[in-house]
């Protein structure tokens, strides 16, 4: 980053589901414009809107509320963290004992609402140095599971709602997420995904998790050279059948009640 960039107005994206809260931040940013010049790159009411805005706007800093509908602030930061030169993230929260304690422990920057001008100026002064916290920290902090998987495609973030994923299959370095329409490559490990969504996905094989509501039924099938028959899962809406490993079968049988 060049020296002149430090003096250019900081492009700020404000994310909050409450209109007066967004208005308030805009007011206070205006008040301190003399010492901390900023430009409002946009405002959004939740994480998904913010990510959509990031696709065509250059943003240096995101000021985001934590508790929001559709996608909360912590999850937004997790997706933003996947961008190579993504914006800095500062959380704003009215009162959330749990999150504040986690922020303190992780030394993540946050502002308490109502935000004071002096405190905001301080945060802006070091904003160019604030990267989104490590995914590991955010994962521990997030009070909820992610609502979306994100795929980094040519510097853009593509979102796939978790509910649309039928199964997850590990393939070499990646995990393939299959939705009704297409496949996506996730840069995550199957074990972590299994830990994050134990109620949603069920392990049926060493390399495969299936969404419980995507199971249409089970059947016996014969494959391979040995001609041995084994159990397969019939996936709702797909022609494909997924093999259940001998080792997982007792657990799968119990979980699906078959």
């Amino acid at each position: 980053m060049s020296d002149t960039a430090d003096f250019a107005p900081l492009a700020v994206l404000i994310v909050d589901d409450e209109a007066p809260a967004r208005e308030r931040l805009r007011d206070v940013l205006g008040d301190i414009a003399d010492t901390q010049p900023t430009r409002i790159a946009g405002t959004a009411a939740n994480g998904v809107e913010a990510l959509a805005l990031l696709e065509h706007e250059t943003v240096d800093l995101i000021l985001t509320d934590i508790r929001m509908p559709v996608m909360d602030g912590v999850e937004l930061a997790r997706h933003v963290g996947r961008l190579e030169r993504g914006p800095a993230v500062i959380f704003t929260t009215a009162y959330d004992e749990y999150a504040v304690r986690a922020f303190e422990l992780a030394a993540v920057d946050y502002l308490l609402k109502p935000v004071r001008a002096a405190r905001l100026a301080e945060a802006l002064a070091k904003a160019r140095r604030i990267r989104p916290p490590a995914d590991e920290i955010l994962r521990q902090m997030a009070p909820t599971r992610r609502s979306h998987f994100s795929i980094n495609e040519r510097g853009r973030i593509l979102l796939v709602p978790v509910g649309e994923v039928l199964y997850l299959k590990a393939e070499q370095k990646y995990v393939v997420a299959r939705s009704r329409e297409r496949e996506f490559l996730l840069d995550e490990s199957l074990v972590q995904l299994e830990e994050e969504f134990p109620e949603r996905f069920l392990r049926i094989h060493r390399n495969c998790l299936i969404a419980r509501n995507a199971v249409k039924g089970v059947a016996r099938a014969t494959t391979g050279m040995d001609g041995e028959s084994h159990w397969v899962i019939i996936v709702d809406g797909l022609a494909e059948q997924l093999p259940v490993s001998r080792r997982q079968w007792p657990a799968v049988k119990e979980a699906l009640g078959v």
């Binding site: 409450e18 209109a19 967004r22 308030r24 009162y95 959330d96 609402k113």
Partner: protein, 339 residues
Amino acid sequence: MSIKQNPRLAGWGQRPAQLPDFRNLGVVLRTLLLVNAFAIAAVFVRNTDLSLLVGEVLEMAVNVEFPLILNVASLFLMQTLLRRLPFGAGVATVLAVVATIALVSRSLLSPIETGGLLRPLLWSLTTAGCVLTYFHQRDSARAPALAEARLLALTARIRPHFLFNSLNGVLGVLRSNPRRAEEGLEELADLFRALMQDNRELVPLTDEIALCERYLNLERLRLGERLQVAWQRDPQAEAALVPPLMLQPLIENAVYHGIEPGAGPGTVSITIERRGPEVIIAIANPLLDAVSHHPGNRMALDNIRERLMLFYDLEATLDTERDADAYRVRIRLPFRSER
């Protein structure tokens, strides 16, 4: 917050003694149980031959149940008068009623053996004394519990989340719409006044409704169009006296769990109706997150359930139910319009 530290609880124990509410179902049931337990104990003590026991119990039942029912019915009818008397005079009146009924029913049931009037008279008076003592003890034992419940009510009441978000909302409109900001602060002041009041006495339902309207107006400042409210009110129910701050926390829960987590508009519906001797209050909100077993929600419900119990004993209930898309809380309480 300083509202947690109200030191006035100390004087609470010196509340003047009161007769039980003879129209309360719990009091009636407890009286019937206690007197019957006494009577059966008396039969067991006197009994010498086990083969005669059944006959003796039946004989006792004839002698005890008739005056007992008469007593309960008379006290039920005299409740309004008894409430107005000082404690001592009230006790004397109750004992006089019991004595009269003992004598009258004795002479009605067995008019021939008039000699044995003294024994049933003494038995009735002793039993009545014991029952009154029991209710008196129970009442004084519960007084600290009531104070405790009030404390609980205060601490559970306003979520810090709500306070700071409201203040932030007011600040957000302060420059663009100063009138709305003023209103917001007035509503906040009213809410806090209600919270800090002495919340031991029942209040008219109309007052509770007015408070809730102010609360909802304040939330509308932040949530805008997302918060839709459907009131269904019944003028006949609104004269009822209800525990203070019973409605507001339930509506706050409905907003917190049913409106805030949703991106689009949602409706909180509040239905109040009078059904004969009862008032029914129902609050429903959209069911948004499947994981709505929020500990905060549970605490608020337990708190209100406990206060209903303290105010009405067994006569009030609070139920919750969830179906595919809504969460409902339903309160049923006796209609009472005077303290």
